[in-house]
Protein backbone atom coordinates (compact mmCIF):
# COMPACT_ATOMS: atom_id res chain seq x y z
CA UNK A 1 0.00 0.00 0.00
CA UNK A 2 2.77 2.36 1.07
CA UNK A 3 4.81 1.44 -2.01
CA UNK A 4 1.80 2.09 -4.22
CA UNK A 5 1.25 5.47 -2.54
CA UNK A 6 4.90 6.39 -2.99
CA UNK A 7 4.58 5.57 -6.69
CA UNK A 8 1.40 7.60 -7.01
CA UNK A 9 2.71 10.75 -5.30
CA UNK A 10 4.60 12.10 -8.34
CA UNK A 11 1.73 11.27 -10.66
CA UNK A 12 -0.77 13.04 -8.38
CA UNK A 13 1.62 15.98 -8.09
CA UNK A 14 1.98 16.29 -11.85
CA UNK A 15 -1.80 15.99 -12.34
CA UNK A 16 -2.22 18.75 -9.75
CA UNK A 17 0.31 20.99 -11.52
CA UNK A 18 -1.35 20.31 -14.87
CA UNK A 19 -4.75 21.15 -13.34
CA UNK A 20 -3.42 24.44 -11.90
CA UNK A 21 -1.88 25.30 -15.28
CA UNK A 22 -5.17 24.63 -17.10
CA UNK A 23 -7.34 26.46 -14.55
CA UNK A 24 -5.12 29.56 -14.50
CA UNK A 25 -4.45 29.58 -18.25
CA UNK A 26 -6.26 32.89 -18.78
CA UNK A 27 -3.75 34.55 -16.48
CA UNK A 28 -0.61 33.12 -17.99
CA UNK A 29 -1.36 32.53 -21.69
CA UNK A 30 -1.01 36.26 -22.62
CA UNK A 31 2.16 36.52 -20.54
CA UNK A 32 3.55 33.40 -22.20
CA UNK A 33 3.64 35.09 -25.59
CA UNK A 34 6.17 37.49 -24.09
CA UNK A 35 7.95 35.08 -21.78
CA UNK A 36 8.84 32.32 -24.24
CA UNK A 37 11.00 34.50 -26.54
CA UNK A 38 12.72 36.08 -23.51
CA UNK A 39 13.42 32.69 -21.91
CA UNK A 40 14.72 31.45 -25.25
CA UNK A 41 17.03 34.47 -25.69
CA UNK A 42 18.48 34.05 -22.19
CA UNK A 43 18.90 30.30 -22.81
CA UNK A 44 20.61 31.09 -26.12
CA UNK A 45 23.18 33.42 -24.57
CA UNK A 46 23.80 30.88 -21.78
CA UNK A 47 24.56 28.16 -24.34
CA UNK A 48 26.71 30.52 -26.43
CA UNK A 49 28.64 31.59 -23.32
CA UNK A 50 29.28 27.98 -22.29
CA UNK A 51 30.50 27.26 -25.83
CA UNK A 52 32.81 30.27 -25.84
CA UNK A 53 34.30 29.48 -22.47
CA UNK A 54 35.33 26.05 -23.78
CA UNK A 55 34.60 24.26 -20.48
CA UNK A 56 32.25 21.92 -22.32
CA UNK A 57 34.86 21.13 -24.99
CA UNK A 58 37.40 20.22 -22.34
CA UNK A 59 34.99 17.88 -20.55
CA UNK A 60 33.93 16.18 -23.79
CA UNK A 61 37.56 15.66 -24.85
CA UNK A 62 38.41 14.23 -21.42
CA UNK A 63 35.50 11.78 -21.56
CA UNK A 64 36.38 10.74 -25.13
CA UNK A 65 39.95 10.02 -24.03
CA UNK A 66 38.67 7.96 -21.09
CA UNK A 67 36.21 6.03 -23.29
CA UNK A 68 38.83 5.30 -25.94
CA UNK A 69 41.33 4.15 -23.33
CA UNK A 70 38.85 1.44 -22.33
CA UNK A 71 39.47 -0.42 -25.53
CA UNK A 72 42.82 -1.65 -24.23
CA UNK A 73 41.50 -4.39 -21.96
CA UNK A 74 41.97 -7.14 -24.52
CA UNK A 75 43.16 -9.69 -21.91
CA UNK A 76 39.60 -9.88 -20.54
CA UNK A 77 36.95 -12.20 -21.93
CA UNK A 78 34.62 -10.57 -24.52
CA UNK A 79 31.73 -10.30 -22.08
CA UNK A 80 33.95 -8.88 -19.34
CA UNK A 81 35.29 -6.38 -21.84
CA UNK A 82 31.84 -5.19 -22.81
CA UNK A 83 30.82 -5.08 -19.14
CA UNK A 84 33.93 -3.06 -18.29
CA UNK A 85 33.41 -0.58 -21.15
CA UNK A 86 29.70 -0.10 -20.37
CA UNK A 87 30.28 0.30 -16.64
CA UNK A 88 33.26 2.64 -16.90
CA UNK A 89 31.75 4.56 -19.82
CA UNK A 90 28.47 5.20 -18.04
CA UNK A 91 30.32 6.11 -14.83
CA UNK A 92 32.45 8.62 -16.77
CA UNK A 93 29.31 10.10 -18.35
CA UNK A 94 27.62 10.32 -14.93
CA UNK A 95 30.55 11.81 -13.05
CA UNK A 96 31.51 14.35 -15.72
CA UNK A 97 27.85 15.17 -16.31
CA UNK A 98 27.33 15.89 -12.62
CA UNK A 99 30.53 17.90 -12.32
CA UNK A 100 29.59 19.91 -15.39
CA UNK A 101 26.06 20.38 -14.11
CA UNK A 102 27.35 21.68 -10.78
CA UNK A 103 29.93 23.99 -12.27
CA UNK A 104 27.66 25.35 -15.00
CA UNK A 105 24.52 25.79 -12.93
CA UNK A 106 26.23 27.06 -9.79
CA UNK A 107 27.86 29.90 -11.70
CA UNK A 108 24.93 30.89 -13.92
CA UNK A 109 23.06 33.30 -11.66
CA UNK A 110 25.62 34.25 -8.97
CA UNK A 111 28.19 35.02 -11.68
CA UNK A 112 25.74 37.35 -13.43
CA UNK A 113 25.07 39.11 -10.12
CA UNK A 114 28.73 39.29 -9.12
CA UNK A 115 29.92 40.59 -12.51
CA UNK A 116 26.80 42.82 -12.71
CA UNK A 117 26.01 41.72 -16.27
CA UNK A 118 22.52 41.17 -14.89
CA UNK A 119 21.96 44.97 -14.70
CA UNK A 120 21.77 45.37 -18.45
CA UNK A 121 19.34 42.44 -18.69
CA UNK A 122 16.93 43.21 -15.86
CA UNK A 123 16.66 46.83 -16.99
CA UNK A 124 15.19 45.46 -20.24
CA UNK A 125 11.66 44.04 -20.46
CA UNK A 126 12.64 40.72 -18.91
CA UNK A 127 10.86 39.34 -15.86
CA UNK A 128 13.06 37.83 -13.20
CA UNK A 129 11.44 34.39 -13.44
CA UNK A 130 12.09 34.49 -17.20
CA UNK A 131 15.75 35.07 -16.43
CA UNK A 132 15.83 32.10 -14.03
CA UNK A 133 13.98 29.82 -16.47
CA UNK A 134 16.17 30.98 -19.36
CA UNK A 135 19.29 30.12 -17.40
CA UNK A 136 17.84 26.69 -16.51
CA UNK A 137 16.84 25.92 -20.10
CA UNK A 138 20.29 27.05 -21.29
CA UNK A 139 22.00 24.73 -18.79
CA UNK A 140 19.72 21.86 -19.87
CA UNK A 141 20.66 22.40 -23.52
CA UNK A 142 24.38 22.40 -22.71
CA UNK A 143 24.02 19.25 -20.61
CA UNK A 144 21.94 17.59 -23.33
CA UNK A 145 24.62 18.30 -25.94
CA UNK A 146 27.35 16.98 -23.65
CA UNK A 147 25.33 13.86 -22.74
CA UNK A 148 24.51 13.15 -26.39
CA UNK A 149 28.14 13.55 -27.49
CA UNK A 150 29.51 11.42 -24.63
CA UNK A 151 26.86 8.73 -25.17
CA UNK A 152 27.47 8.74 -28.91
CA UNK A 153 31.19 8.18 -28.32
CA UNK A 154 30.42 5.32 -25.91
CA UNK A 155 28.03 3.76 -28.44
CA UNK A 156 30.63 4.04 -31.22
CA UNK A 157 33.29 2.48 -28.97
CA UNK A 158 30.91 -0.39 -28.10
CA UNK A 159 29.93 -0.98 -31.74
CA UNK A 160 33.53 -0.93 -32.96
CA UNK A 161 34.61 -3.27 -30.18
CA UNK A 162 31.69 -5.60 -30.93
CA UNK A 163 33.11 -5.99 -34.44
CA UNK A 164 36.76 -6.22 -33.35
CA UNK A 165 36.52 -8.52 -30.34
CA UNK A 166 36.12 -12.12 -31.46
CA UNK A 167 33.51 -14.14 -29.59
CA UNK A 168 34.53 -17.30 -27.73
CA UNK A 169 32.31 -20.37 -27.30
CA UNK A 170 31.32 -19.31 -23.77
CA UNK A 171 31.58 -15.50 -24.03
CA UNK A 172 30.36 -12.85 -26.44
CA UNK A 173 30.87 -9.09 -26.57
CA UNK A 174 27.41 -7.67 -25.94
CA UNK A 175 27.14 -3.86 -26.37
CA UNK A 176 23.69 -3.89 -24.70
CA UNK A 177 22.87 -0.66 -26.56
CA UNK A 178 19.24 -0.35 -25.47
CA UNK A 179 20.17 -0.45 -21.80
CA UNK A 180 23.14 1.89 -22.33
CA UNK A 181 20.95 4.48 -24.06
CA UNK A 182 18.28 4.14 -21.35
CA UNK A 183 20.88 4.57 -18.59
CA UNK A 184 22.32 7.64 -20.34
CA UNK A 185 18.83 9.13 -20.70
CA UNK A 186 18.07 8.52 -17.02
CA UNK A 187 21.41 10.08 -16.12
CA UNK A 188 20.39 13.18 -18.08
CA UNK A 189 17.10 13.30 -16.16
CA UNK A 190 19.07 13.17 -12.89
CA UNK A 191 21.19 16.09 -14.15
CA UNK A 192 18.01 18.04 -14.94
CA UNK A 193 16.78 17.54 -11.36
CA UNK A 194 20.15 18.38 -9.83
CA UNK A 195 20.51 21.48 -12.03
CA UNK A 196 17.10 22.81 -10.97
CA UNK A 197 18.08 22.46 -7.31
CA UNK A 198 21.44 24.13 -7.92
CA UNK A 199 19.65 27.01 -9.66
CA UNK A 200 17.28 27.27 -6.68
CA UNK A 201 20.19 27.46 -4.22
CA UNK A 202 22.07 29.91 -6.43
CA UNK A 203 19.16 32.39 -6.29
CA UNK A 204 19.70 32.64 -2.55
CA UNK A 205 23.42 32.48 -1.99
CA UNK A 206 26.92 32.97 -3.41
CA UNK A 207 28.72 30.78 -5.95
CA UNK A 208 30.88 29.08 -3.31
CA UNK A 209 27.93 28.17 -1.11
CA UNK A 210 26.03 26.93 -4.16
CA UNK A 211 28.87 24.63 -5.23
CA UNK A 212 29.21 23.22 -1.69
CA UNK A 213 25.42 22.70 -1.40
CA UNK A 214 25.31 21.05 -4.83
CA UNK A 215 27.95 18.50 -3.83
CA UNK A 216 26.04 17.77 -0.62
CA UNK A 217 22.76 17.27 -2.53
CA UNK A 218 24.48 15.00 -5.03
CA UNK A 219 26.10 12.92 -2.27
CA UNK A 220 22.96 12.68 -0.15
CA UNK A 221 20.76 12.11 -3.22
CA UNK A 222 22.94 9.22 -4.30
CA UNK A 223 22.76 7.60 -0.85
CA UNK A 224 19.08 7.91 -0.13
CA UNK A 225 18.55 4.19 0.55
CA UNK A 226 21.28 4.43 3.21
CA UNK A 227 19.44 7.36 4.78
CA UNK A 228 16.19 5.36 4.75
CA UNK A 229 17.92 2.41 6.47
CA UNK A 230 19.48 4.76 9.03
CA UNK A 231 16.11 6.44 9.66
CA UNK A 232 14.51 3.06 10.36
CA UNK A 233 17.12 2.32 13.02
CA UNK A 234 17.29 5.82 14.53
CA UNK A 235 14.90 7.41 17.02
CA UNK A 236 13.94 10.86 18.31
CA UNK A 237 15.33 13.96 16.62
CA UNK A 238 17.83 12.00 14.54
CA UNK A 239 15.01 9.90 13.05
CA UNK A 240 13.04 13.03 12.15
CA UNK A 241 16.09 14.64 10.57
CA UNK A 242 16.94 11.53 8.54
CA UNK A 243 13.32 11.18 7.41
CA UNK A 244 13.21 14.84 6.36
CA UNK A 245 16.41 14.33 4.35
CA UNK A 246 14.99 11.15 2.85
CA UNK A 247 11.76 12.79 1.74
CA UNK A 248 13.06 16.24 0.75
CA UNK A 249 16.30 15.52 -1.10
CA UNK A 250 15.66 13.95 -4.52
CA UNK A 251 16.50 10.29 -4.82
CA UNK A 252 19.15 10.60 -7.50
CA UNK A 253 20.07 6.93 -7.08
CA UNK A 254 16.67 6.06 -8.61
CA UNK A 255 17.99 7.47 -11.89
CA UNK A 256 21.06 5.27 -11.77
CA UNK A 257 20.75 2.32 -14.18
CA UNK A 258 24.48 1.72 -14.66
CA UNK A 259 24.52 -1.61 -12.82
CA UNK A 260 21.56 -2.93 -14.80
CA UNK A 261 23.16 -1.92 -18.11
CA UNK A 262 26.63 -3.24 -17.29
CA UNK A 263 25.43 -6.52 -15.77
CA UNK A 264 22.73 -7.23 -18.38
CA UNK A 265 20.04 -7.14 -15.71
CA UNK A 266 16.42 -6.48 -16.64
CA UNK A 267 15.56 -2.79 -16.55
CA UNK A 268 12.41 -1.66 -14.77
CA UNK A 269 10.81 0.83 -17.14
CA UNK A 270 8.15 1.49 -14.48
CA UNK A 271 10.92 2.33 -12.01
CA UNK A 272 12.42 4.70 -14.56
CA UNK A 273 9.06 6.31 -15.32
CA UNK A 274 8.43 6.74 -11.59
CA UNK A 275 11.82 8.44 -11.15
CA UNK A 276 11.20 10.72 -14.15
CA UNK A 277 7.76 11.76 -12.85
CA UNK A 278 9.10 12.47 -9.39
CA UNK A 279 12.03 14.31 -10.96
CA UNK A 280 9.70 16.47 -13.04
CA UNK A 281 7.80 17.35 -9.89
CA UNK A 282 11.07 18.31 -8.15
CA UNK A 283 12.10 20.45 -11.12
CA UNK A 284 8.72 22.24 -11.20
CA UNK A 285 8.75 22.96 -7.46
CA UNK A 286 12.44 23.99 -7.44
CA UNK A 287 11.98 26.42 -10.32
CA UNK A 288 8.82 27.96 -8.86
CA UNK A 289 10.59 28.54 -5.53
CA UNK A 290 13.69 29.82 -7.36
CA UNK A 291 11.50 32.30 -9.26
CA UNK A 292 9.90 33.50 -6.02
CA UNK A 293 13.25 33.90 -4.25
CA UNK A 294 14.92 35.63 -7.17
CA UNK A 295 11.98 37.99 -7.57
CA UNK A 296 12.70 39.39 -4.11
CA UNK A 297 16.47 39.32 -4.39
CA UNK A 298 18.36 42.60 -4.40
CA UNK A 299 20.92 42.54 -7.16
Amino acid sequence: MSALLTRLIPLIGLILIAAIIVITRRAWVPALSHSVPSIWRIAGITVAEARRRRVVHTVIILVIVILLSMTFFSYLSPQEQSRMIISSGLTAITVFGILLSIFIAAFLIPHEVETRTIYAILSKPVRRFEFVLGKYVGALIVLAVVTVVMTAVLVVVLLVQARLVPSTPDSVFNPNLGAVLFAAFMNYCALAVLTSLIILISTMTSTTMTVISAFIIWTVGSMQSTFRDLAEKAYGGAKVLLLVIYYVVPKLENFDFRQEAANYMPISIVGGWHAVLLGALYVAIALVIAGIFFNDRQV
Partner: protein, 316 residues
Protein backbone atom coordinates in the same frame (compact mmCIF):
# COMPACT_ATOMS: atom_id res chain seq x y z
CA UNK B 1 2.13 77.80 -20.40
CA UNK B 2 1.73 74.04 -20.51
CA UNK B 3 3.96 72.25 -18.01
CA UNK B 4 6.08 69.45 -19.48
CA UNK B 5 5.02 65.93 -18.58
CA UNK B 6 6.73 64.41 -15.57
CA UNK B 7 8.66 61.38 -16.76
CA UNK B 8 10.19 60.28 -13.50
CA UNK B 9 8.95 60.86 -9.97
CA UNK B 10 10.52 59.86 -6.68
CA UNK B 11 8.68 60.47 -3.40
CA UNK B 12 10.14 59.99 0.07
CA UNK B 13 12.59 57.38 -1.15
CA UNK B 14 14.57 55.77 1.64
CA UNK B 15 16.93 52.84 1.49
CA UNK B 16 18.48 51.31 4.56
CA UNK B 17 20.95 48.47 4.14
CA UNK B 18 20.54 46.12 7.06
CA UNK B 19 23.75 45.19 8.75
CA UNK B 20 24.61 42.26 10.99
CA UNK B 21 26.65 44.48 13.24
CA UNK B 22 24.42 47.54 13.73
CA UNK B 23 20.75 47.43 14.54
CA UNK B 24 20.03 50.67 12.67
CA UNK B 25 21.66 49.62 9.39
CA UNK B 26 23.21 51.97 6.89
CA UNK B 27 20.98 54.65 5.42
CA UNK B 28 22.05 54.93 1.77
CA UNK B 29 19.13 57.10 0.62
CA UNK B 30 17.19 59.31 2.99
CA UNK B 31 13.73 60.66 2.11
CA UNK B 32 14.64 61.59 -1.46
CA UNK B 33 12.18 63.52 -3.59
CA UNK B 34 12.87 64.01 -7.28
CA UNK B 35 10.95 64.89 -10.38
CA UNK B 36 12.22 64.93 -13.96
CA UNK B 37 10.31 66.40 -16.86
CA UNK B 38 10.17 65.22 -20.47
CA UNK B 39 13.15 66.32 -22.56
CA UNK B 40 15.11 67.43 -19.53
CA UNK B 41 18.69 66.46 -18.76
CA UNK B 42 18.99 66.00 -15.02
CA UNK B 43 22.12 65.09 -13.19
CA UNK B 44 22.58 63.75 -9.71
CA UNK B 45 26.00 64.76 -8.48
CA UNK B 46 27.62 63.86 -5.21
CA UNK B 47 30.70 62.33 -3.67
CA UNK B 48 31.24 58.57 -3.57
CA UNK B 49 28.81 56.88 -1.21
CA UNK B 50 26.25 59.67 -1.39
CA UNK B 51 23.51 57.32 -2.62
CA UNK B 52 23.49 58.12 -6.34
CA UNK B 53 23.90 54.58 -7.65
CA UNK B 54 21.56 53.17 -5.00
CA UNK B 55 18.90 55.61 -6.21
CA UNK B 56 19.38 54.49 -9.81
CA UNK B 57 19.25 50.82 -8.83
CA UNK B 58 15.96 51.40 -7.02
CA UNK B 59 14.58 53.28 -10.02
CA UNK B 60 15.49 50.31 -12.23
CA UNK B 61 14.00 47.74 -9.85
CA UNK B 62 17.35 46.08 -9.21
CA UNK B 63 17.02 46.68 -5.49
CA UNK B 64 13.97 47.58 -3.44
CA UNK B 65 13.35 50.67 -1.31
CA UNK B 66 12.83 50.57 2.45
CA UNK B 67 10.25 53.35 2.11
CA UNK B 68 8.89 55.72 -0.52
CA UNK B 69 7.74 55.31 -4.08
CA UNK B 70 9.16 55.70 -7.56
CA UNK B 71 7.35 55.95 -10.84
CA UNK B 72 8.49 56.24 -14.44
CA UNK B 73 5.97 57.39 -17.05
CA UNK B 74 3.43 57.24 -14.21
CA UNK B 75 3.91 53.52 -13.67
CA UNK B 76 5.99 51.21 -11.51
CA UNK B 77 9.28 49.89 -12.93
CA UNK B 78 7.90 46.37 -12.49
CA UNK B 79 5.58 47.17 -15.40
CA UNK B 80 7.30 45.79 -18.51
CA UNK B 81 5.91 48.58 -20.68
CA UNK B 82 8.05 51.02 -18.66
CA UNK B 83 11.22 49.03 -19.30
CA UNK B 84 10.43 49.06 -23.01
CA UNK B 85 10.80 52.86 -22.91
CA UNK B 86 13.99 53.23 -20.88
CA UNK B 87 17.67 52.58 -21.47
CA UNK B 88 20.31 52.05 -18.80
CA UNK B 89 24.07 52.45 -18.99
CA UNK B 90 25.56 50.78 -15.90
CA UNK B 91 28.71 52.09 -14.31
CA UNK B 92 31.86 50.36 -15.55
CA UNK B 93 30.13 48.70 -18.52
CA UNK B 94 29.23 45.24 -17.30
CA UNK B 95 28.50 43.20 -20.42
CA UNK B 96 29.28 39.58 -21.38
CA UNK B 97 32.99 39.70 -22.08
CA UNK B 98 33.24 36.71 -24.43
CA UNK B 99 31.02 38.29 -27.11
CA UNK B 100 31.79 41.04 -29.59
CA UNK B 101 29.85 44.27 -30.04
CA UNK B 102 27.72 42.93 -32.86
CA UNK B 103 26.68 39.83 -30.90
CA UNK B 104 26.03 41.78 -27.72
CA UNK B 105 23.80 44.35 -29.40
CA UNK B 106 21.93 41.60 -31.26
CA UNK B 107 21.29 39.84 -27.95
CA UNK B 108 20.05 42.94 -26.14
CA UNK B 109 17.86 43.93 -29.11
CA UNK B 110 16.44 40.40 -29.04
CA UNK B 111 15.21 40.97 -25.49
CA UNK B 112 12.79 43.53 -26.94
CA UNK B 113 11.44 40.89 -29.30
CA UNK B 114 12.71 42.57 -32.47
CA UNK B 115 12.84 40.31 -35.54
CA UNK B 116 16.22 39.37 -37.03
CA UNK B 117 16.06 41.86 -39.92
CA UNK B 118 15.33 44.78 -37.61
CA UNK B 119 18.02 43.65 -35.19
CA UNK B 120 20.61 43.57 -37.96
CA UNK B 121 19.68 47.07 -39.06
CA UNK B 122 19.68 48.32 -35.46
CA UNK B 123 23.07 46.84 -34.74
CA UNK B 124 24.55 48.60 -37.79
CA UNK B 125 22.98 51.94 -36.83
CA UNK B 126 24.06 51.77 -33.21
CA UNK B 127 27.60 50.69 -33.98
CA UNK B 128 27.85 53.62 -36.39
CA UNK B 129 26.39 56.01 -33.81
CA UNK B 130 28.93 55.08 -31.15
CA UNK B 131 31.81 54.82 -33.63
CA UNK B 132 32.36 51.09 -33.21
CA UNK B 133 31.74 49.90 -36.76
CA UNK B 134 35.39 49.11 -37.41
CA UNK B 135 35.66 47.20 -34.13
CA UNK B 136 32.34 45.37 -34.31
CA UNK B 137 34.02 41.94 -34.20
CA UNK B 138 36.37 42.70 -31.30
CA UNK B 139 35.42 40.65 -28.20
CA UNK B 140 34.25 42.83 -25.33
CA UNK B 141 37.10 41.64 -23.11
CA UNK B 142 39.63 42.91 -25.66
CA UNK B 143 37.99 46.34 -25.99
CA UNK B 144 39.55 49.42 -24.45
CA UNK B 145 37.69 51.17 -21.63
CA UNK B 146 36.38 53.80 -24.05
CA UNK B 147 35.16 51.19 -26.54
CA UNK B 148 33.44 49.27 -23.74
CA UNK B 149 31.69 52.37 -22.53
CA UNK B 150 30.50 53.21 -26.06
CA UNK B 151 29.20 49.67 -26.52
CA UNK B 152 27.44 49.88 -23.19
CA UNK B 153 25.80 53.10 -24.32
CA UNK B 154 24.77 51.41 -27.56
CA UNK B 155 23.07 48.58 -25.64
CA UNK B 156 21.19 51.20 -23.65
CA UNK B 157 19.92 52.67 -26.92
CA UNK B 158 18.72 49.46 -28.62
CA UNK B 159 15.08 50.29 -27.95
CA UNK B 160 15.43 53.99 -28.85
CA UNK B 161 14.45 54.84 -25.25
CA UNK B 162 12.55 57.94 -24.22
CA UNK B 163 14.35 58.01 -20.88
CA UNK B 164 18.04 57.26 -20.71
CA UNK B 165 19.61 56.55 -17.32
CA UNK B 166 23.39 56.84 -17.26
CA UNK B 167 25.47 55.85 -14.25
CA UNK B 168 28.89 57.49 -14.32
CA UNK B 169 29.05 57.50 -18.13
CA UNK B 170 32.60 58.85 -18.25
CA UNK B 171 34.03 57.00 -15.29
CA UNK B 172 37.52 55.68 -15.96
CA UNK B 173 37.79 57.27 -19.41
CA UNK B 174 40.75 59.32 -20.60
CA UNK B 175 40.09 62.97 -21.64
CA UNK B 176 39.51 61.97 -25.29
CA UNK B 177 37.11 59.23 -24.25
CA UNK B 178 35.30 61.62 -21.90
CA UNK B 179 34.95 64.13 -24.71
CA UNK B 180 33.53 61.47 -27.06
CA UNK B 181 31.05 60.32 -24.43
CA UNK B 182 29.99 63.89 -23.70
CA UNK B 183 29.37 64.43 -27.42
CA UNK B 184 27.22 61.28 -27.51
CA UNK B 185 25.22 62.46 -24.51
CA UNK B 186 24.71 65.84 -26.19
CA UNK B 187 23.55 64.00 -29.32
CA UNK B 188 20.97 62.13 -27.24
CA UNK B 189 19.86 65.41 -25.76
CA UNK B 190 19.53 66.87 -29.25
CA UNK B 191 17.33 63.91 -30.20
CA UNK B 192 14.92 64.97 -27.46
CA UNK B 193 15.57 62.20 -25.00
CA UNK B 194 15.06 62.67 -21.29
CA UNK B 195 18.32 62.00 -19.53
CA UNK B 196 19.10 61.18 -15.94
CA UNK B 197 22.78 60.89 -15.22
CA UNK B 198 24.87 60.30 -12.16
CA UNK B 199 28.36 61.62 -12.18
CA UNK B 200 31.09 63.14 -10.16
CA UNK B 201 32.75 64.73 -13.19
CA UNK B 202 31.29 68.15 -12.62
CA UNK B 203 32.66 69.72 -15.81
CA UNK B 204 30.78 67.22 -17.97
CA UNK B 205 27.61 67.69 -15.95
CA UNK B 206 27.89 71.44 -16.39
CA UNK B 207 28.22 70.96 -20.12
CA UNK B 208 25.17 68.78 -20.66
CA UNK B 209 22.67 69.25 -17.83
CA UNK B 210 19.60 71.44 -17.52
CA UNK B 211 19.09 70.75 -13.84
CA UNK B 212 21.29 69.36 -11.13
CA UNK B 213 20.57 67.68 -7.82
CA UNK B 214 23.39 67.56 -5.30
CA UNK B 215 23.25 64.42 -3.16
CA UNK B 216 25.10 64.09 0.09
CA UNK B 217 24.74 61.31 2.63
CA UNK B 218 21.63 60.02 0.90
CA UNK B 219 19.76 63.33 0.79
CA UNK B 220 19.27 65.92 -1.89
CA UNK B 221 20.97 68.98 -0.37
CA UNK B 222 20.54 71.31 -3.35
CA UNK B 223 18.56 71.22 -6.56
CA UNK B 224 17.94 73.53 -9.48
CA UNK B 225 19.39 74.91 -12.66
CA UNK B 226 23.01 75.97 -12.51
CA UNK B 227 21.94 79.60 -12.45
CA UNK B 228 19.52 78.99 -9.60
CA UNK B 229 22.14 77.12 -7.63
CA UNK B 230 24.75 79.78 -8.30
CA UNK B 231 22.51 82.23 -6.44
CA UNK B 232 22.44 85.36 -8.63
CA UNK B 233 25.16 87.60 -10.09
CA UNK B 234 28.66 87.84 -8.69
CA UNK B 235 31.23 90.59 -8.50
CA UNK B 236 32.65 92.12 -11.71
CA UNK B 237 36.40 92.09 -12.18
CA UNK B 238 37.94 94.56 -14.65
CA UNK B 239 41.61 94.24 -15.47
CA UNK B 240 43.43 97.20 -17.06
CA UNK B 241 47.02 98.23 -17.55
CA UNK B 242 48.40 100.49 -14.79
CA UNK B 243 46.24 103.55 -14.10
CA UNK B 244 47.31 106.99 -12.89
CA UNK B 245 46.58 107.66 -9.16
CA UNK B 246 44.03 110.40 -10.02
CA UNK B 247 42.15 108.08 -12.34
CA UNK B 248 42.19 105.32 -9.71
CA UNK B 249 40.86 107.74 -7.15
CA UNK B 250 38.06 108.93 -9.48
CA UNK B 251 37.07 105.35 -10.37
CA UNK B 252 37.05 104.25 -6.72
CA UNK B 253 34.36 106.86 -6.05
CA UNK B 254 32.10 105.59 -8.84
CA UNK B 255 28.88 103.64 -8.26
CA UNK B 256 29.27 99.93 -7.35
CA UNK B 257 33.07 100.07 -7.36
CA UNK B 258 34.42 98.19 -4.35
CA UNK B 259 38.20 98.31 -4.76
CA UNK B 260 40.75 99.67 -7.20
CA UNK B 261 44.24 98.26 -6.82
CA UNK B 262 46.78 98.87 -9.59
CA UNK B 263 45.06 97.62 -12.72
CA UNK B 264 42.42 95.54 -10.89
CA UNK B 265 38.98 97.07 -10.43
CA UNK B 266 36.37 95.13 -8.50
CA UNK B 267 32.68 96.04 -8.69
CA UNK B 268 29.97 94.70 -6.41
CA UNK B 269 27.41 92.03 -7.40
CA UNK B 270 24.78 94.81 -7.71
CA UNK B 271 26.69 96.42 -10.62
CA UNK B 272 24.50 96.82 -13.69
CA UNK B 273 25.67 96.72 -17.28
CA UNK B 274 25.46 100.52 -17.53
CA UNK B 275 27.52 101.07 -14.38
CA UNK B 276 30.15 98.70 -15.78
CA UNK B 277 30.16 100.64 -19.08
CA UNK B 278 30.57 103.93 -17.17
CA UNK B 279 33.66 102.58 -15.43
CA UNK B 280 35.07 101.28 -18.73
CA UNK B 281 34.55 104.73 -20.32
CA UNK B 282 36.35 106.35 -17.38
CA UNK B 283 39.29 103.97 -17.85
CA UNK B 284 39.32 104.88 -21.54
CA UNK B 285 39.24 108.61 -20.76
CA UNK B 286 42.18 108.17 -18.38
CA UNK B 287 44.15 106.59 -21.20
CA UNK B 288 44.05 103.11 -19.71
CA UNK B 289 43.63 99.95 -21.72
CA UNK B 290 40.97 97.43 -20.73
CA UNK B 291 42.52 93.94 -20.77
CA UNK B 292 39.66 91.83 -19.39
CA UNK B 293 36.14 92.18 -18.02
CA UNK B 294 34.87 89.21 -16.02
CA UNK B 295 31.66 88.42 -14.19
CA UNK B 296 32.47 84.81 -13.31
CA UNK B 297 29.49 82.55 -12.82
CA UNK B 298 30.05 80.15 -9.94
CA UNK B 299 31.06 76.77 -11.35
CA UNK B 300 29.25 73.59 -10.45
CA UNK B 301 32.31 72.84 -8.38
CA UNK B 302 31.62 76.00 -6.30
CA UNK B 303 27.94 75.06 -5.99
CA UNK B 304 28.81 71.50 -5.05
CA UNK B 305 31.33 72.47 -2.40
CA UNK B 306 28.97 75.12 -0.99
CA UNK B 307 25.97 72.75 -0.83
CA UNK B 308 27.92 69.93 0.76
CA UNK B 309 29.68 72.30 3.15
CA UNK B 310 26.34 73.75 4.29
CA UNK B 311 24.86 70.28 4.75
CA UNK B 312 27.87 69.08 6.72
CA UNK B 313 27.61 72.14 8.99
CA UNK B 314 23.88 71.49 9.55
CA UNK B 315 24.60 67.90 10.53
CA UNK B 316 27.19 68.92 13.12
Amino acid sequence: MKTAETVLQVKGLTKIYKSLFTSAGVKAVDNLNLSIRRGETYSIVGPNGSGKTTTLKILLGLIFPTAGTTSIFGKSISDLSVRERIGFLPEDAYLYDCFNGEELLDFYAGLFGYPKKKRRQLVDELLALVGMQANRKVPFRECSKGMRQRLALAQALVNDPELLILDEPTSGLDPAGRHQMTLLILEMKKRGKTLLLCSHFLAEVEEVCDRVGVMYRGSLVAEGTLQELAGGPTQVRITTDKLQPQAMDAISRMASVVTVEGGAITMGAEATNSSVWTVLEKVNEAGGEVLEVLRPRPTLQDVFVKAIGASAEENQ
